[in-house]
């Protein structure tokens, strides 16, 4: 690891001005990706801006009908929150299955989505639930936020502060983990909000995407049977030593059916 200057601002404003004033700075949230890449000398920021002391970034609250989760909220806190379990149990369930105990107690929702790893879990929930990403500068719709492999709509100097989730009538997440890394090979989040059905897939492609054919089928008939004969186009899916393209495509449909079945057992 190369040496760096360490900063620990107490407010988002201070963090943003530190970030703006430096050329090669990195924000440290949970550090679950940044620190390993620094140790491997793949990342070498000159400045680390640690967000841990910014109290306004952590916490889970209701604002009107929306569930709002601060960007620095740890996965374990989402998983264990009575409020999340009541309002969006599928989200609490997703958080409880991210990584392992250590990761869940360090990793944060804001860090996860800002990094936008192709196999991260949260992006599927955020996209399927049509959440809004609140930053130091603006609010971004989920559909506009995830734009590529490890790429988001965040501008230089912009800091994610919270995620705003609308309630769902039904929702569930099913994932097939990579046996080695336990990241998602295919993770499918299904959400029914009012009349609309949104289905987001993580792990299978270079970044999270909406399975529009699956959404259409479920919008017409929200039932496992609606997906029985459906398959997804595998053209743009990833292929590696754990899962070839065809298998990934197949798993997406298996996980979609399992998520629908799960969502029908409960609401939200």
């Amino acid at each position: 690891m190369q040496s760096f200057s360490y900063h620990k601002p107490g407010t988002v404003t201070d963090a943003a001005s530190l970030l703006a004033a430096r050329d090669n700075a990195a924000l440290l949230a949970g550090g679950m990706t940044l620190l390993p890449t620094m140790k491997q000398r793949l990342a070498a920021p000159d400045d680390i801006i640690d967000l841990a002391a910014i109290r306004e970034l952590s916490g889970i609250t209701m604002e009107g009908e929306d569930l709002v989760i601060g960007a620095m909220t740890r996965h374990a806190d989402v998983a264990g929150s009575d409020l999340v379990k009541e309002v969006l149990p599928a989200l609490a369930g997703l958080a409880s299955r991210i990584g392992d105990q250590q990761v869940r107690h360090r990793g944060t929702i804001g860090g996860s989505i800002s990094n936008n790893d192709p196999a991260a879990d949260y992006p599927a929930a955020i996209l399927a639930l049509n959440a809004t990403i609140v930053t130091s500068q603006r609010a971004i719709a989920a559909d506009d936020f995830f734009v590529g492999l490890f790429e988001t709509a965040l501008r230089p100097g912009e800091i994610v502060t919270a995620i705003r989730f609308p309630r769902a009538k039904r929702a569930a997440y099913a994932k097939f983990p990579n046996p080695a890394s336990r990241y998602a090979i295919a993770g499918v989040f299904v959400a029914q909000t009012g009349g609309a059905v949104r289905v987001a897939v993580t792990g299978a492609a270079p970044f999270v995407f909406r399975a529009t054919d699956v959404e259409a089928a479920l919008s017409a008939n929200y039932a496992v049977e609606a997906l029985e004969r459906l398959s997804i186009d595998t053209q743009d899916l990833m292929s590696d030593i754990h899962a070839d393209r065809e298998y990934r495509g197949h798993l997406v449909m298996v996980m979609a059916r399992r998520a629908v079945a799960e969502s029908l057992k409960r609401s939200g």
Partner: protein, 795 residues
């Protein structure tokens, strides 16, 4: 706990008191005064000429003290890494044994091959400087698989070695096998791959070299399973340091599994650099560095056939194996797929004729060597797959066909047609009991219940035998070993009666400090807590060959027991003098020396004390002191064996295999500490399950890059993958070891892959599947299911 704790007890492990409190001392924990640290620049290419290595920028970088290349070592007369066991081919010619320079000279031959070593004040400085080395590579095509490497026109790993062939070796009677196959009612055949494994002990490798100008002595601290052998190999062959001027210390070592039983380049390089620089030099592998520099295991491609008569009796076996050596020969590389493989092909069966051909092949991959089981899991997998196939093709129950062919208990000792003679065993007894414990009778009901849930359930069986307790020197040297394979132990009795044992085996997780103390406690009647076991330091321990091949208890324990016998004999002489009786009348029982038929006696502690206060000794006939040493060379291998049952379920939607039940009945001979044996069996079984279901060292076929180069892609078995393992011992004592012990370290790894894959194939039987290669990963199984269903639909 001031008491004797002897054979058969399960005290908690002595060593755990320090390990569970974080008080172990591993090489990475050691800091020497004025110590420097080193980092390697390793080849990113699988195969390339080194046109130039320019280290000038690295040398000028902050904190850098030296940068060494292969040419620097060569100029200083540093030798290549030696091979400890040579083999000869069918034609009688010795194997091809190309030079193995510690740092590459002229050419790099695998991704990870060392190109330069940077020594600096800190790790960060060394790693940063390594990035400044400018290497001009002339990249060549690479070959990573054995089949490809033997093809005409394949890239040549060595310019002067034809067909990448290290050795074309064979064992057995080819003519007898041909004749038997002509008479066969049925021939079962299989083509299979034994997947490449990467050992990944918990503690990565590390080494510290130091030179003392005052004494001229070098010291190497290293993560090794056999420090005395490193002293021999590195001292004599690589650095030309006389053995009395070289101390090798292997302190606490966090797991080995074979990965740490080789002499590695890094050990020689830090020792040599310390001599050059006059300061200690340390290197600690990163995990990712371990993936591309620790020797790998297995990696065979095999065609095998079994000839069977009309009654399901085995007549003969024919095996052709291609074994991957990697880019260089590791310490025991060529021995593993030959001498530790073919002699086990008889399994627990009467097979009158066996012929095995093995081609050892060079490729552009990390060198391949022993990994827990080393040759014997590969042999067991071949035998058991063939037996399953023969049963299925002939319509015989797979357990029944095993019974029909097993060597009955009364037929021991049993001479196989492939060198080894089994001294003892009862495979039928193991199988009978395992069948009961596994509730084989209830399996079909469980299969039907699973089918109702949409799952395929399968039951698998394997029976195995292994040769361990390496090794009778006479036999091993006859087969090409370049060293003896005995073991030594010293029992030092202190004036207090406490005992220090100095032993040449090495404890890196096996619980030797406990097991060996139990042996001494029982033999000498000394309280368990008053016995210390010392190992891992060539300046403290007289000699030794280390720990591998399930040899520590079998060979080391025997040396210890012999040394204990000598202590008792000496104690009897002292007691005879003290009690004014004849030595022949002194008996030693329950920690007391007494005159037979009288109540005159001395405790062990009294005798120990008096040995060091020889005020009235007849010094002409009785020396002071109570310390004895023994060297033990076994007369045969030992042959642990057993029967394992695995029960699995497959989810056809995802292809995922879940292990539902696992039952093992093993014959490890006399058991010293049942808890430790259970732990060894659990660990071994899980490691074998790892090979069957999860672990796979995968190279990109064209670039030669290791695709499974981290835990993100190399899947280790985990606790949540495992069922409760049901174990029961079924021991027949070894006929030739002093305590009847056979060894247990590798049993699990040898028995379990075949049992699990037997279950996987059984589960897929309704789809017509007859063989599945390891590892049975979800994608692999899903593809098989999909293809089989498509084939059924087409028919």
């Amino acid at each position: 706990m001031s008491e004797v704790i002897g054979i058969g007890a399960s005290p908690k492990r002595k060593e755990d008191a320090r390990f569970v409190r974080g008080r172990g001392t591993y090489v990475a924990d050691i800091k020497r005064p004025d110590m420097l640290v080193g980092a390697f620049l390793r080849s990113p290419h699988a195969h390339a000429y080194l046109k130039s290595v320019d280290v000038s920028d690295a040398l000028a970088a902050p904190g850098v003290v030296a940068v060494y290349t292969g040419e620097d070592l060569k100029k200083d007369n540093v030798g290549g890494l030696p091979v400890g066991w040579g083999i000869s081919g069918k034609d009688g010619n010795p194997m091809k044994e190309p030079p193995h320079p510690p740092i590459a000279v002229g050419k790099v031959r695998y991704v990870g091959d060392a190109v330069a070593f940077v020594v600096a004040e800190t790790t960060d400085q060394a790693e940063a400087a390594a990035e400044l080395i400018r290497v001009d590579y002339d990249v060549l095509p690479a070959v990573v698989g054995v089949v490809d490497a033997l093809r005409a026109g394949a890239p040549a790993v060595y310019d002067d070695i034809e067909d990448n062939l290290c050795c074309d070796w064979d064992l057995g009677d080819a003519a007898a096998v041909e004749a038997a196959f002509r008479e066969a009612a049925h021939v079962a055949s299989v083509e299979l791959v034994n997947n490449r494994l990467i050992g990944n002990p918990l503690e990565p490798r590390a080494a510290i070299g130091e030179y003392n100008f005052a004494t001229g002595q070098y010291t190497l601290w290293t993560t090794s399973q056999f420090p005395h052998v490193v002293r021999l190999l590195m001292g004599e062959f690589v650095l030309h340091i006389p053995q009395h001027k070289l101390r090798v210390v292997a302190p606490d070592v966090g797991g080995g599994f074979g990965v740490k039983q080789f002499h590695y380049a890094e050990e020689a390089i830090v020792t040599w650099a310390a001599g050059k620089l006059g300061r200690p030099v340390k290197w600690v592998a990163r995990r990712s560095e371990g993936f591309i520099s620790d020797a790998h295991g297995r990696d065979h491609v095999t065609e095998a056939e079994l000839a069977v008569d009309e009654n399901g009796k085995f007549l003969a076996m024919r095996v052709k194996t291609l074994a991957n050596m990697g880019a260089y020969l590791s310490t025991f590389g060529p021995n593993i797929p030959t001498n530790l493989y073919a002699p086990l092909l008889s399994g627990v069966y009467r097979i009158p004729a066996i012929y095995c051909e093995v081609k050892c092949v060079f490729t552009n991959t990390v060198p391949v060597d022993a990994y827990r089981g080393a040759g014997r899991p590969e042999a067991t997998f071949v035998v058991e797959r063939l037996v399953d196939l023969a049963a299925r093709e002939m319509g015989i129950d797979k357990i029944d066909i095993r019974r029909r062919n097993m060597i009955p208990k009364e037929a021991y000792p049993y001479q196989t047609p492939v060198i080894v003679e089994y001294d003892s065993g009862d495979p039928m007894g193991c199988l009978d009991r395992a069948e009961e414990l596994a509730d084989v009778a209830g399996f079909e009901a469980r299969r039907a219940e699973a089918a109702a849930r949409g799952k395929f359930r399968g039951l698998g069986v394997s029976t195995y035998v292994e040769a361990c307790g390496l090794a009778p020197s006479r036999l091993a040297i006859g087969l090409g070993a370049r060293s003896g394979l005995y073991e030594s132990a010293t029992v030092r009795v202190h004036p207090s009666g406490a005992v220090t044992v100095l032993i040449g085996t090495h404890n890196h997780g096996q619980g030797h400090e406990t097991t060996f103390a139990q042996i001494v406690s029982q033999q000498l009647g000394v309280p368990f807590q008053d016995i210390d076991i010392v190992f891992g330091d060539t300046d403290r321990v007289q000699h030794g060959l280390g720990t591998y091949g399930s040899r520590s208890l079998v060979v080391g324990g025997a040396a210890l027991s012999r040394a204990g016998d000598k202590v008792i004999l000496k104690g009897r002489k002292i007691a005879a003098h003290q009690l004014e009786a004849s030595v022949d009348d002194i008996i030693f029982e329950n920690g007391e020396f007494s005159v037979a038929g009288t109540d005159r006696k001395k405790t062990f502690k009294e005798i120990a004390g008096s040995a060091y206060v020889p005020g009235n000794y007849p010094l002409e006939t009785l020396e002071p002191g109570l310390e004895e040493q023994a060297y033990y060379d076994p007369i045969n291998f030992t042959y642990p064996g057993g029967a394992h049952f695995a029960e699995i379920e497959i989810d056809p939607d995802t292809g995922i295999v879940t292990l539902e039940r696992y039952t093992a009945v093993d014959d490890v001979g006399t058991i010293i500490n049942p808890m430790i044996v259970e732990g060894q069996l659990h660990g071994g079984i899980v490691q074998g399950i790892g090979q069957a279901l999860f672990e796979h060292g995968v190279y990109d076929q064209s670039s030669g890059q290791l695709l499974s180069g981290s835990f993100m892609d190399y899947c280790m078995p985990r606790a949540d993958n495992m069922p409760q393992i049901v174990l029961e011992p079924h021991s027949t004592p070894c006929a030739h070891t002093p305590m009847g012990v056979k060894g247990c370290g590798e049993c699990g790894t040898i028995g379990s892959p075949a049992a699990v894959m037997s279950a996987v194939v059984d589960a897929l039987k309704p789809l017509g599947v007859s063989h599945v290669d390891m590892p049975a990963t979800p994608n692999h199984i899903w593809n098989i299911i999909r293809n089989s269903r498509a084939q059924i639909a087409a028919e």
